[in-house]
């Protein structure tokens, strides 16, 4: 039996490792302690609320977030703004609706059920406004990048002047962590760019961490529920496994053999 589990778990390890080693880039990402990692990982509410502020004030002018709704901002496990706050946030956006009784489209203040308003009508419009590059939708961005949160966090702080001899076209910038080191987004963050409602000092590092936390939540809105349920499920399975193990021993003892 020992032999069996040794082999079984090494197979799992080999596969886990080969998947990891594949997705790992050569660059070392900047490290920070994420509150949402680990068995009991939870989001830092303050970071989520600040991250939302950075997203709205900085990112959202180019990056859409089309799968997230305003109501999500008030939901459990998210930034947990109060419902009144979220209603006010939603109402501050103009949402296109219609057609009305006359068959015309009209704009109205946003409601809780509306999805985040997009900065551009469609991908083509976004490309036209950004020199041909489409600023990717941010809803699941963290999951869509091999390095995940560490990559995004590093990228935001990875702007440097290019090494000698590195040729950059117009509208292309040098970033230490970008694949090929060429990025079409200029450095967006600078110390004190936003004024945090909770008075936190808005350094580039702080803003990067906050907005990355926010992006992790938009990509995995049920992360906290998942961690909580996972812990319960695994504890339950272990208890049942122990019970079944002793029942098995008991049953097999009838024929005097080893299991």
């Amino acid at each position: 039996m020992k032999n069996f589990f040794k082999i079984f778990f090494s197979i799992i390890l080999v596969f886990g490792y080969s998947q990891n080693s594949y997705s790992a880039e050569k660059v070392e990402y900047l490290k920070t302690d994420w509150s949402f990692k680990g068995l009991f990982g939870k989001f830092d509410r303050g970071a989520l609320q600040r991250g939302y502020q950075v997203y709205t004030e900085v990112c959202s002018s180019c990056h859409s977030m089309k799968y997230v709704s305003y109501r999500n901002l008030a939901e459990k496990g998210g930034p947990e703004f109060t419902e009144a706050q979220v209603k006010a946030i939603a109402a501050s956006f103009e949402v296109k609706d219609g057609p009305n009784a006359d068959g015309e489209m009209f704009t109205r203040p946003g409601k809780l059920s509306d999805k985040f308003v997009m900065p551009y009508e469609n991908v083509k419009a976004a490309q036209a406004a950004n020199g041909g590059a489409y600023p990717p939708d941010m809803s699941v961005l963290v999951k869509a990048r091999g390095g995940g949160v560490d990559y995004i966090y590093s990228l935001l702080q990875g702007y440097e002047s290019p090494p000698a001899g590195f040729i950059l076209d117009d509208g292309v910038y040098y970033n230490k962590y970008m694949y090929g080191n060429k990025i079409k987004m200029s450095n967006q963050l600078s110390d004190g760019l936003v004024e945090y409602a909770d008075g936190t000092n808005a350094t580039v590092e702080q803003m990067s961490k906050d907005v990355t936390t926010f992006l992790m939540w938009t990509a995995e809105p049920h992360l906290e529920a998942r961690h909580q349920m996972g812990f319960k499920a695994i504890v339950y399975l272990i208890i049942l496994t122990i019970l079944v193990y002793f029942s098995m021993k008991r049953i097999w003892s009838r024929i005097e053999t080893e299991v």
Binding site: M1, S18, N20, A225, R226, F231, L237, S247, I251
Partner: protein
């Protein structure tokens, strides 16, 4: 096939059973005499049944929310992940369930290879198993296309293009598969239809697989034929049921770990980017369970021959009962085969590893050597080994090794008694 006549006790039971012998079937299944020395490698049959049922149940519930349309598929998956009650849980179980299913099936196949379970009189069980495995690959591939992410789209493009290697009709077949001039909405809808159908075909084949198994009965770690029922067997219920249950729970703990704590680790990040026919991702990689075959495909420099090699690598398994010429089933009594067996395991793992790496330089060389060895194992080593190998003496009954606790000890004891 029933081992003894079963008569229900109640009058209604008898009346019903005379018309539809369900009770006889149930009695056959619970009393089914199973070798008492089956080790934990034998629990994967039950685990695979669990995997199939899990995939069908979660798949059915996902299909209630999924929209098979090129413009809406990605969005509907996000809808499942965000809004549907427990949608995230069901989808993560289904996605990781595919990986767990393949993990279990590979263990099941390699168990069969080690203990010679494919040999006479179990060839049909083995061949049905190979068909199930092929259908699993088809279902998994088409399932991976459904979220309509970048890997879905480009994986579908690459795999369907394999058919273009067929001389003369290849291009026509690819267009027919696509229902257009590229992978697009018609491809998605037919893949969804087939992805829905295949699990039920697998279910039917599983019934045949078990039926065929119940004719000769289980093989066992010693690999000898045993009398059933006898001192060497135990009834399936409760002995095997509880043991399978225990192993299944251990398996479920690993499964739960993936679902709750690393749900995306076995997937590829690019599949969270919506499909874009204008941009190919930097690395196209299939899911891990297809990597060894992907490595074989890429190690052959010719398009047609590459496809042929990849298909042969799977189909050669169907001929295994006749390629392996040894009369002895279990590797326990085949010292040379045992070593070649572990070399094959290493070879397949290496193929899987290089399948994930870029097809260039050293990786390509390793892939070629490993591919060549894979075929060498089945086409040369196995047939020759059957004639040349000096096998160890095989015990007459399994009661002895069971008492010893492990087959190795039993062999030693057996040898001892022969010397005396």
């Amino acid at each position: 096939m029933s081992d003894h006549e079963y008569t229900p006790k109640s009058k209604f039971g008898k009346w019903f059973n005379d018309r539809l012998p369900l009770l006889s079937l149930a009695s056959h299944l619970t009393d089914y005499p199973t070798p008492k020395n089956l080790n934990y490698w034998w629990t994967f049959g039950g685990i695979l049944t669990f995997c199939l049922i899990t995939q069908i149940v979660t798949g059915l519930t996902l299909a209630m929310h999924y929209i098979a349309h090129a413009d809406m598929a990605f969005e509907s998956v996000e809808h499942i992940m965000r809004d549907v009650n427990y949608g995230w849980l069901i989808r993560y179980i289904h996605a990781n369930g595919a990986s767990m299913f393949f993990l279990a099936v590979y263990i099941h196949i390699f168990r069969s290879l080690f203990y010679g379970s494919y040999k006479s009189p179990r060839e049909i069980i083995w061949i049905i198993g190979i068909i199930i495995y092929l259908l699993m690959m088809a279902a998994a591939f088409m399932g991976y296309v459904l979220p309509w992410g970048q890997m879905s789209f480009w994986g579908a493009t690459v795999i369907t293009n394999l058919f273009s290697a067929i001389p003369l009709v290849g291009e026509g077949i690819v267009t027919w598969l696509w229902g257009g001039y590229s992978v697009d909405n018609p491809t998605l809808t037919r893949f969804f239809t087939l992805h829905y159908l295949i699990p039920f075909l697998i279910l039917g084949l599983v019934v045949l697989h078990i039926w065929a198994l119940h004719v000769p009965g289980n093989n066992n770690p010693v690999g000898i034929d045993i009398e059933k029922p006898s001192k060497d067997t135990v009834p399936f219920h409760p002995y095997i049921v509880i043991k399978d249950g225990f192993a299944l729970l251990m398996f479920m703990i690993v499964f739960a770990f993936f679902v709750f704590y690393a749900p995306n680790i076995l997937g590829h990040a690019d599949n969270y980017i919506e499909a874009d026919p204008l941009v190919t991702p930097a690395h196209i990689v299939p899911e891990w369970y297809l990597l060894p075959f992907y490595a074989i495909l890429r190690s052959v420099p010719d398009k047609l021959l590459g496809v042929v090699a990849m298909l042969s690598a799977i189909l050669i398994l169907a001929a295994l009962p006749w390629l392996d010429t040894s009369k002895i089933r279990s590797a326990v009594f085949r010292p040379l085969y045992k070593q070649f067996y572990w070399i094959l395991v290493a070879d397949v793992l290496i193929l899987g590893y290089v399948g994930a790496m870029p097809a260039e330089g050293l990786y390509l060389l390793i892939a070629r050597v490993a591919t060549a060895y894979y075929f060498l194992h089945f086409l040369v080593i196995l047939p020759v080994l059957g004639f040349k190998e000096k096998t160890l003496p095989v015990p007459l009954s399994i009661t002895e090794p069971v008492l010893g606790g492990s087959p190795n000890l039993a062999t030693a004891r057996n040898r001892e008694s022969l010397n005396n």
